[in-house]
């Protein structure tokens, strides 16, 4: 079989067994790989309404058909589960080299079920799977340490997917790490893995991925590489990377500042692309990516050297402006601490910002204040260890704010903390956040793209935004939910501004037939609807966002987006339009007509 390995590795931690099942190719034909195929497997393998903390709740690692080939950016891995943090689906993506290594080891997917009786590390060398006790040597290690330990003890070429100490303490935003700086950040997969007593999966694969006529494929990919990858539309990511967003988003009054109380951060000039270029050591790339967006930085903080990749824009926004921190060295240190302890930076910055807000408002003294560097850089370790105020912060935004009687200060959607775009400066993001399949997320649709970055549509109106959230304007590079669904099934990276027409050219090699743009978009719609069905089955809460983000009373008094508010009526009617355009009822349940029309093969 070309592109796919045709194998799913099922690791049962309770029984300490590893079995190989054939990949369901009927599902692959409908849902491709990555996000789509993950959703289909989740639908089938997750017992309906399962307690997400139960051993029966599996953790899924899914590759895309192009992982391990020369298709740029498609080395991404999607980690999926019913999230213990949100109670709904969570698909979290990570670059690096883990997914290609899975393919070279012989697997398209890994499903982890059960719970190990003791802390465990699983090693996979091609078809040999071993279960090693993690204690005392590996349990408790930080992410760089466990990776190095696997290179030392298992294989110099080991690719490791691990949790840091935060995953061991079941932190609700603990992430998975690979190649040290690459994180499957969102949704608490680290906590799920920790609950299974699984510290790490270390892989070594020496096999192959076949593509049919390799030289013909190489020639076509060399063409696509030159025509579609190495273009100005994508190379901003190489020249600058995501810090380029700081001035743009801040300038539009959409950068979360001091727990979302403002949309413009006066200290952002110290955290912009220019500032980061001054401390850039080199450019780095994920496996099989010609763009190479990653910035490896080096600086010193409190006399100590701090080196590593990132921070990316979301981290700069949430851990910078949202905490009132304009000190680039402190931000580097905070980011490195989150990386090492295994914490998602978006949620970390959001929760720390909330704790600062609660402290400043005199609600409760959590020892953190906006702009105060010394306590700020210690927060990740305290959170991961649940020490002192860290135990309070580890509740997460929603529970922390509720505990102290201020639920309105928690900036989350479906218990996933919001990323770095305030809808008051980018109206389209409101419906985008509200309808995102995994909760507060900017990766499903990105109205910021045309509202702020390109500036081709006004940011302060809902006119046309609902349609944009669903279908996007793909020809111009603005992704909607349907397109991101198929794109993340490839799994192409967001930073390749690829079009449906270009995806079709690549899918042709996988499906060995012509694929039309319409079919690409149809597959995307099918995948999005399958995700919705899963969430409805598991009991998703109402699609909404924090009221302050759209209510007239929530408008900013100062800054570039001052006075702008979507308005409650406008937000409600946009949500109404969204369901109607989707072919869903007003509770967000997809209709039989819609499911039949787009070929979803399961029903509630």
């Amino acid at each position: 079989m070309d592109f796919y390995k045709g194998n799913v590795l099922r690791i049962d931690l309770s029984a300490k067994t590893a079995t190989v099942e054939p990949l369901n190719m009927d599902w692959a034909a409908l849902y491709v790989g990555g996000k789509g195929l993950l959703f289909r497997y989740m639908w089938e393998y997750i017992p309906p309404k399962v307690d997400p903390w139960a051993p029966e709740n599996p953790l899924f690692l899914m590759t895309g058909p192009f992982a391990g080939t020369n298709v740029s950016t498609t080395s991404r891995l999607v980690v999926g589960a019913k999230s213990p943090t949100t109670g709904i689906l969570n698909d979290s993506y990570v670059g690096g080299s883990f997914a290609p290594e899975m393919k070279f080891a012989g697997y398209d997917a890994i499903i982890v079920v059960g719970k190990a009786p003791e802390p465990t590390v699983v090693t996979v060398r091609n078809d040999v799977v071993e279960f090693l006790p993690a204690a005392p040597k590996y349990w408790g290690l930080k992410t760089s340490e466990i990776e190095q330990a696997m290179r030392d003890d298992f294989d110099p070429e080991a690719k490791t997917l691990s949790i840091g100490p935060a995953g061991e303490t079941l932190n609700p935003w603990a992430c998975l790490s690979t190649d040290q700086y690459h994180k499957a950040g969102r949704g608490g997969h680290g906590a799920l893995m920790g609950s299974k007593n699984l510290k790490a999966i270390a892989l070594r694969g020496t096999g192959s991925v076949t593509v049919g006529d390799a030289r013909a494929f190489l020639a076509d990919m060399a063409r696509i590489h030159r025509e579609f990858v190495l273009t100005d539309d994508n190379l901003w990511a190489h020249e600058e990377g995501t810090p380029v967003l700081v001035d743009l988003v801040n300038g539009a009054g959409a950068m979360p500042t001091r727990n979302w109380s403002e949309g413009y951060f006066e200290g952002a000039k110290n955290l912009n692309s220019e500032s980061f270029q001054k401390i850039r050591v080199k450019k780095r790339a994920c496996y099989q990516c010609a763009i190479g967006c990653r910035n490896f930085h080096g600086t010193t903080f409190a006399g100590k050297e701090v080196r590593g990749e990132g921070p990316e824009y979301e981290t700069i926004a949430l851990c910078g402006g949202n905490c009132g921190i304009g000190d680039i060295d402190a931000l580097m240190e905070f980011n490195a601490e989150c990386d090492e302890w295994g914490l998602d930076t978006i949620s970390s910055g959001s929760v720390v910002g909330l704790a600062m807000d609660l402290t400043e408002k005199g609600v409760v003294d959590l020892g953190l204040r906006f702009g105060e560097v010394e306590s700020y850089v210690k927060a990740p370790a305290m959170i991961a260890k649940r020490q002192g105020a860290g135990a309070e912060l580890a509740l997460g935004s929603r529970a922390l704010a509720a505990k102290y009687g201020h639920p309105e200060l928690a900036m989350e959607v479906k218990n996933l903390e919001l990323p770095g775009y305030d809808p008051r400066g980018s109206f389209g993001m409101s419906v985008g956040y509200a309808t995102s399949d995994r909760g507060g997320c900017h990766m499903r649709t990105y109205p910021v793209g045309d509202e702020i970055l390109a500036g081709t549509v006004p940011a302060d109106t809902m006119e046309g935004k609902v349609q944009q959230c669903i279908t996007g304007d793909c020809a111009n590079g603005f992704i909607g939910q349907n397109f991101s669904s198929i794109k993340f099934s490839g799994i192409w990276c967001d930073f390749w501004a690829v079009t449906p027409q270009q995806l079709a050219q690549m899918f042709k090699h996988v499906f060995k037939r012509e694929v039309s743009e319409d079919e690409v978009m149809l597959m995307g719609e099918r995948i999005w609807n399958l995700g919705r069905l899963f969430n409805v089955r598991e009991g998703v809460q109402k699609d909404d966002i924090p009221k302050v983000l759209y209510a007239a009373s929530g408008a900013f008094k100062d800054g570039p987006s001052a006075g702008k508010a979507i308005g409650e009526a406008s937000f409600a009617s946009s949500m109404h339009d969204y369901y109607q355009l989707r072919g869903w009822d007003q509770n967000g349940v997809p209709s039989e007509e819609k499911l039949a029309q787009i070929g979803v093969d399961v029903r509630l």
Binding site: G68, T69, N70, S72, G96, S97, F104, S144, E147, Q148, D179, Q180, Y181, G205, T206, G207, S208, V209, T210, V211, A214, R215, F217, L218, M221, A222, H225, R226, L230, L235, H238, V281, K282, K283, R284, A285, C286, Y287, Q288, C289, A290, G292, R294, F296, R307, G308, E309
Partner: protein, 158 residues
């Protein structure tokens, strides 16, 4: 002689060169059998490229007891670069006994026993169309570059 080099400074560690190399030579994507590789430490970001220096080194050829590593004339036309004429060292698979003498002497660790066949394998510059160069970030980074030794240029001119 023409040979490829990986610039540690420019290389981003994407491994596209290894992928293209294996697909071209093996007919499948199998970087474990690539003819060049970038050794990447993800934590420190340190990268060390490993490529064959061809006739500029030739330690493998000198070590071979069976004359199985032969000098072959080649015209290299890498994507985006000028045409270069010269020589590469290739394995004569009929003569190679997989004895391993060359594996031990290679200073860059890029000549090995093939995992499926009882022969050595090494870089041959893809018969003049090096895929590693084609799939590097050419022309934006060009970490995988085609180099020509001065001494060898004289040889070509002669």
């Amino acid at each position: 002689m023409p040979h490829v080099m990986i610039s540690s400074k420019k290389c981003t560690g994407c491994h596209m060169c290894e992928l293209a190399c294996s697909a071209y030579h093996e007919g499948v994507y199998r970087p474990a059998v690539a003819r060049l590789y970038a050794d990447v430490n993800p934590t420190t970001g340190a990268i060390k490229g490993h490529t064959c220096l061809q006739t500029g080194c030739a330690k493998c050829q000198e070590a071979c007891p069976n004359d199985a590593i032969v000098t072959k004339e080649i015209t290299v036309k890498a994507v985006g670069l000028d045409e270069v004429k010269g020589y590469v060292l290739v394995i004569d698979e009929d003569k190679c006994t997989n004895c391993g003498e060359c594996y031990d002497v290679c200073p860059t660790n890029v000549i090995h026993a093939h995992p499926d066949r009882e022969v050595a394998y090494k870089c041959d510059l893809c018969d003049g169309d090096p895929q590693c160069v084609a799939f590097c970030q050419n022309p934006h980074v060009l970490a995988v570059d085609l180099k020509v030794d001065k001494a060898d240029k004289a040889l070509v001119g002669a």
